[in-house]
């Protein structure tokens, strides 16, 4: 990495809002270039960085950026003012909701000033060193031997029931086999097994493509961004589920996804579905696996993954793997081993829908947590702990949650192997107490209740807003009509 180093900084660094998040950067003027002494540079006003998190850290800064692209002279501040009379009622409603949420976060979490955040960062780095020193990065391979035994048992049982003609039961075991393997693919995707990029990625791709019919590359592309801008409606693909779910009221405002590089329209389908989203949560997640096929194929066929560097060949490996998958699953099992169309249907549906608890596990840690952006001054550890919660469970149930129950711990230390997370959790709780960041921990059922409650709340807000549909459409034209 040092070969890309072009200089050093002095003192502590104050973050800019990145261009992709709507930050504006001033070019160096001629005079500044000829006289680029640090002194003159410092005295100049700092446009992007002095952003007030209450107004500029949320989606209004992004909206104003869209506008700025067309009219350079437009003022950012006038656009982000909540009380501006030029803004239609529904926008004022959305912005006041956003403001309330931000204020709630600011009251619950440590202050954003550099000293406080700097201390959190310092303590986080000490914690990181301690985890390293205590050997918690070392993978417990015996635990993986048990995992492998579990996978083999589930697959063998699937074959057994297939042989005796219990097709639905057989499908259930295949689904459980996939669910268990996904946890290992997640570990591998984080290079959290052997810590060797190529070996771990290979393990993950073998699980994803030939065994699961999906793409690890697709998952990694979304997941990397998810870990950096966790729970941000504009940036985190794992937060964007329109038209089926609106995790936050901001999705009512036709927001721009920087991940998908398109507008997420709050369209007729969304308006119809979102009011029922609390009831649709489990049924939709039960069908989640079908969506994953579509996303994976899109990723592989369009070549959205890396084309150069050490990962250039992954695309071809996964394409071949998917051919293998449809041969053994589609041809050998579903077509050749199951006699009737109805039995085939039952087998496919049950094997896919039994992954529902897995999909709940994947979403439960974030859906009920904050989706607000507190601006560039927030430290990495605080952001992770503010947007992520852990699920409490007895140690013997760890296999069922597959390490994903320690989601907040995992977000702080993504490379720590799964079977060490319970031990790291103790250290994280200590850290949270020290820096006074609340550590969110719910039982699995309570976590589900939180998510359903949040979805229902957003539904209610949708109902309040639905009377303003006409103005919403108008605003869409104003901001995105080019």
């Amino acid at each position: 990495m040092t070969r890309y180093q072009i200089g050093m900084i002095e003192g502590s660094w104050k973050n800019f809002v990145p261009p992709i998040q709507g930050g504006t950067f001033r070019k160096l003027s001629m005079e500044e270039e000829s006289d680029s002494s640090a002194e003159s540079a410092r005295t100049s006003s700092e446009s992007t960085r002095n952003a007030s998190p209450v107004f500029d850290g949320n989606d209004s800064s992004l909206r104003s950026r869209r506008l700025l692209e067309d009219t350079d002279a437009a003022s950012v501040t006038s656009m982000s003012s909540v009380s501006s009379s030029a803004i239609p009622d529904d926008l004022a409603f959305l912005d006041s909701q956003t403001k309330q949420e931000i204020e709630l976060d600011l009251s619950k979490y440590p202050a954003l000033d550099p000293e406080v955040q700097g201390e959190i960062i310092q303590k986080y780095r000490l914690l990181s060193q301690r985890i390293q020193a205590e050997g918690l990065y070392e993978c417990n391979y015996t635990a993986y031997a048990w995992e492998a035994a579990r996978w083999s048992f589930l697959f063998a049982t699937m074959l057994l029931f297939l042989r005796i003609g219990w097709y639905c039961t057989s499908g259930a075991f295949l689904g459980m086999f996939w669910s268990q393997l996904v946890f290992a693919a997640h570990d591998a995707g984080h290079i959290a097994i052997t810590h060797n990029f190529t070996i771990d990625t290979l393990i993950g791709m073998i699980i994803a493509a030939p065994i699961g019919g999906l793409s690890l590359g697709w998952w990694k592309r979304t997941h990397n961004v998810h870990h950096i801008v966790t729970n941000s409606p504009e940036h985190d693909p794992d937060n964007q589920h329109l038209p089926v779910f609106a995790v936050n009221h901001r999705f009512f405002g036709n927001i721009w996804s920087t991940y998908h590089e398109r507008l997420l329209p709050y369209d007729a389908a969304a308006k119809f579905l979102v009011p029922f989203q609390a009831y649709m949560y489990y049924p939709v997640l039960a069908l989640g696996r079908f969506n994953l096929y579509v996303q994976s194929w899109k990723f592989l066929l369009q070549g959205q993954g890396p084309r150069k560097g050490i990962a250039w060949w992954h695309r071809y490996f996964e394409l071949a793997g998917n051919v293998v998958f449809w041969y053994w699953f589609g041809y050998l099992i579903v077509y050749k081993s199951i006699p009737t169309p109805w039995a085939r249907f039952g087998f496919v549906m049950i094997s896919h829908m039994i992954n529902m608890p897995l999909h709940v596990q994947l979403t439960v840690s974030h859906f009920a947590m904050s989706t607000t952006d507190l601006g560039p001054g927030e430290s990495f550890p605080m952001k992770m702990l503010r947007t992520t919660m852990d699920v409490d469970c007895p140690p013997w149930l760890d296999f069922f949650h597959g390490g994903l129950q320690f989601q907040a711990v995992h977000h702080l230390f993504p490379r720590v192997p799964r079977h060490n997370l319970r031990r790291v959790q103790k250290l994280v709780i200590e850290f949270c107490r020290e820096v006074e960041i609340p550590y969110a921990l719910y039982g699995f059922l309570d976590g589900n209740r939180e998510v359903i409650g949040k979805l229902a709340e957003v539904s209610r807000q949708a109902t309040i807003l639905s009377k303003c549909q006409r103005t919403v459409a108008e605003r869409g034209n104003i901001f995105h009509g080019h």
Partner: protein, 80 residues
Amino acid sequence: MTPKGAPQPRRRDAILSPREIEGLIADGRYIFILDKKVIKSDAWLSYHPGGLKAIQHMVGRDATDEVTAYVSHLEAYQHR
């Protein structure tokens, strides 16, 4: 190695002011901070196995904690 876009070669340990870095980013450079080092990642973007978006969200920011958490330092140095 002379960074693209810089008029004259500069030393790697030269101190850059925030204003200069802002100017480079305004010119479209992908710059982030790693352990007080100013990293211009433009030439490396297409080789990053973790994709472009992850880096875009770090432009103009101190990425030390994110990079350390996500890839080990050893690996961050190897992937190029």
